[in-house]
């Protein structure tokens, strides 16, 4: 699944070639989430105790790619990391989809886990993450060894993003194997900061032709928007705000679409309805008659 490669901002077909479509990935976990909104539970609650079924389920919803978060390593401290890595392979294989596979978020655990995952999935070329400024070295080496790409994660800062790309390059990571996750936030929750960081990352690549910034951008939307109260609170807890499902789906879709306009090549969502809506909106925004050329 090729991603990126554009010579313009996403959806700005009138400005330059955009050879690959925006990729919509579905986020799933390798264990039952304990903090996902009731609307997500309504869709996935019956399968999320069994991540292999969950992976098949999202493939059935028309997912183009999987974003697998290996949260079990953090939630079950006694879990054997070798098992976690083996399960990761089984889940990815069951989905039959191109995959982004990220660790549990605890640096010590991930530093041990991700090399095992890279080995299990060797040859399948996943995007492995997250490589951060203090853990990138081992993860980059493991990714390269297994023929994978890496997700370079930085906390919402243009210069930190560039710095990490430089470090990854020095560690021998080929340019075409880096995907940047510059951190996103949900609409209404300092979203403008994320919007501008995406926009400035993309401008650095396009307008300033900064080769260190020409990696595709991934926006991790679902985990942000499904945490906000507008997506979680029941109609009783939030009167006068409309139905919770519409709230949650639109919060996710509007956040995702605007980050695409700001430069994201890949968006990670949680709800299949958001994926459907986002795809419809992007199809509409891609249709041109030439009248305005």
């Amino acid at each position: 699944m090729p991603i990126g490669g554009g010579q313009a901002f996403p959806l700005h077909f009138f400005d330059g070639a955009l050879p690959t479509p925006i990729r919509i990935c579905y986020e799933i976990w390798d264990c039952s989430p304990d903090d996902w909104s009731a609307e997500l539970e309504a869709v996935y609650g019956h399968v999320w105790h069994d991540p292999v079924s969950w992976a098949r389920e999202v493939a059935g919803h028309g997912a183009e790619a999987l974003y697998l978060r290996l949260k079990r390593a953090a939630m079950e401290p006694s879990a054997d990391l070798t098992d976690v890595a083996t399960d990761a392979r089984r889940i990815v294989e069951a989905s039959g989809l191109p995959a982004f596979v990220v660790g549990c978020g605890e640096p010590d655990v991930d530093s041990a886990l991700l090399p095992l995952v890279a080995g299990e999935l060797a040859g399948r070329r996943v995007a492995l993450g997250n490589a951060e400024s203090d853990t990138y070295h081992g993860i980059a080496a493991a990714a390269a060894g297994g023929g994978h790409a890496v997700i370079a994660y930085t906390p919402m800062d243009v210069s930190l993003a560039k710095q990490l790309n430089v470090l990854l390059a020095q560690a021998g990571m080929p340019e075409g194997d880096i995907i940047m996750d510059p951190t996103c936030s949900a609409v209404g929750y300092s979203f403008e900061y994320a919007y501008t960081v995406f926009e400035r990352n993309r401008l650095a690549a396009l307008a300033q032709n900064d080769t260190r910034m020409q990696a595709p951008l991934i926006a991790n939307v679902g985990q942000e928007t499904w945490q906000v109260k507008e997506s979680r609170a029941s109609e009783d807890d939030l009167p006068g705000h409309g139905e919770r499902l519409a709230r949650g789906v639109l919060w996710e879709t509007v956040t995702a679409l605007n980050l695409v306009l700001a430069g994201a090549d890949v968006v990670v969502i949680r709800h299949p309805e958001s994926a459907r809506l986002l795809r419809s909106a992007m199809i509409g925004l891609s249709e041109r008659t030439g009248a305005w050329d």
Partner: protein, 448 residues
């Protein structure tokens, strides 16, 4: 925009007469350049110089005002393509479309729903601000405009395919200063003189760049200052292209005829209100000042209002919340005390996760000039001795019966130092990522 003090100085009398209140003409020029002084302060400028400087100093997108004097909606004065270059100036107005195909009951249901939508976010009142009435029937327009005026203070957009109806409606409603929609190349000569005379802003509608530029030029020639551009597009993709091209022409190439606010109708592209909302969000980001919808469901409106508020916020101002004690979920004397920094993104993320957990917490928010936890720690602002001072002065010791402070996982290393500074307190290392806060709080609750 962008005129330097020196360029302005060249046009001034250079007499240093001080009539403007500044000691020299150069000082005055520098204040003019930064927008801190107005041209009117100098009584010695010739009209031609005033016009020249006024022209050059004004934003590439003209200021346009809709609505009655006590509820003005101001649009335009935009000067950048990307918000970080300066800022987006006047927030876009969400607009509800009401057409004559709606029955009485439906009309009033929607109108009342419109008036009821007011959301407070970050200390600001957000709401849809304009109502668009569409009909070729003059009586309907006038009757409904009266209903709107009675039930809300919304500004109005009057839409009619019949220019005579539009002019007649404008004559009756001119005191409310509606936006008249609209004039194309065929109807321009009928509508423009009336719009100018009645002092109502006029929509200029064109099917391609050349048509719109022609209309913009005609408006300039006719002295019609108050106008809004409506690029008519067959698809959302065409509309996105039109918006981007028009704003680029205005800002980058200084094409005056296209230096006007934009109106868009995402409601024309889909009857699915969710898709309409998604498309509307794209046009909010890409330069539309008036975005017309035919949905008024709060689940659709609020994300658009919140998006607009964010996009139009000032990126030069550090994003901070006020420091202090934030009681979340109604905490009591036994509730845990967490500390974080006053960077608004950090605060909102942490606050959101605590609210999700529904576990009562005292959140201490420390002033570190709007930096995140790690940045503030690296800058020496969020370190043991400053945190200790803040905790002692915050007054939290009077609110809780325990002495247990949870610090962010990212600054785990300062735990021992902080305990030696805060002698009565036990310091607990929390989680690194906000998403893990609910889990952490539940475990903390089980522990104690």
């Amino acid at each position: 925009m962008g005129l330097s003090g020196l360029q302005i100085f060249k046009q001034l009398p250079k007499t240093n007469c001080k009539d403007c209140g500044y000691s020299t003409c150069m000082a005055f020029a520098l204040q003019l350049a930064t927008g801190k002084a107005g041209l009117g302060a100098c009584p010695h400028l010739s009209p031609s110089v005033v016009e020249l400087l006024g022209e050059i100093a004004s934003a590439p997108v003209r200021r346009v005002e809709i609505g009655p004097a006590d509820a003005r909606v101001v649009l335009g004065e935009e000067s950048v393509l990307y918000r970080h270059e300066k800022r987006f100036e006047h927030p876009a107005a969400l607009t509800l479309l009401l057409t004559d195909s709606l029955g009485d009951a439906e009309f009033f249901t929607r109108l009342n729903a419109f008036a009821g939508q007011r959301f407070e976010r970050v200390g600001e009142l957000l709401r849809p601000r304009l109502i668009a009435l569409e009909s070729t029937n003059l009586d309907w327009l006038l009757r409904r405009a009266a209903d709107v005026a009675e039930r809300s203070d919304a500004g109005m957009v009057l839409i009619s395919e019949d220019p005579r109806v539009l002019v007649a409606a404008a004559v009756h409603l001119k005191d409310r200063r509606p936006l008249l929609c609209g004039a194309d190349l065929k109807t321009f000569d009928q509508l423009a003189p009336a719009a100018k005379e009645l002092d109502c802003p006029l929509v200029l509608r064109g099917a391609n760049l050349r048509e719109l530029e022609d209309l913009g030029l005609k408006a300039l020639d006719a002295g019609l200052q108050q106008a809004v551009l409506e690029p008519v597009a067959a698809s959302p993709g065409d509309l996105l292209q039109a918006h981007v091209y028009i704003r680029r022409a205005a800002v980058r190439d200084k094409v005056k005829a296209l230096g006007l606010p934009l109106i868009s109708f995402p409601c024309r592209f889909s009857v699915d209100p969710l898709l309409q909302t998604a498309l509307a969000s794209a046009f909010l980001a890409k330069y539309s000042s008036v975005v017309v919808l035919d949905t008024i469901d709060p689940a659709h409106i609020l994300p658009l209002l919140a998006l607009t508020q964010g996009l139009y916020s000032d990126p030069q101002k550090p994003m901070m919340v006020e420091a202090g004690i934030y009681p979340l979920c109604d905490p009591g004397p036994d509730s845990p005390v967490l500390i974080t920094t006053n960077f608004s993104l950090t605060y909102y993320t942490v606050m959101g996760e605590i609210e999700n957990s529904k576990i009562p917490v005292w959140l201490l928010v420390m002033d570190v000039e709007g930096q995140s936890v790690l940045t503030a720690w690296a800058a020496g602002k969020f370190v043991a001795d400053t945190i200790a001072q803040f905790v002692k002065k915050s007054g939290i010791e009077d609110r809780v019966s325990h002495r247990r402070l949870v610090i962010p996982g990212y600054v785990a290393g300062m735990r021992a130092d902080l305990e030696s500074e805060l002698i009565d307190w036990e310091v607990v290392v929390g989680v690194r990522e906000a998403a893990d806060i609910p889990r952490f709080l539940r475990a903390l609750g089980r522990e104690s």
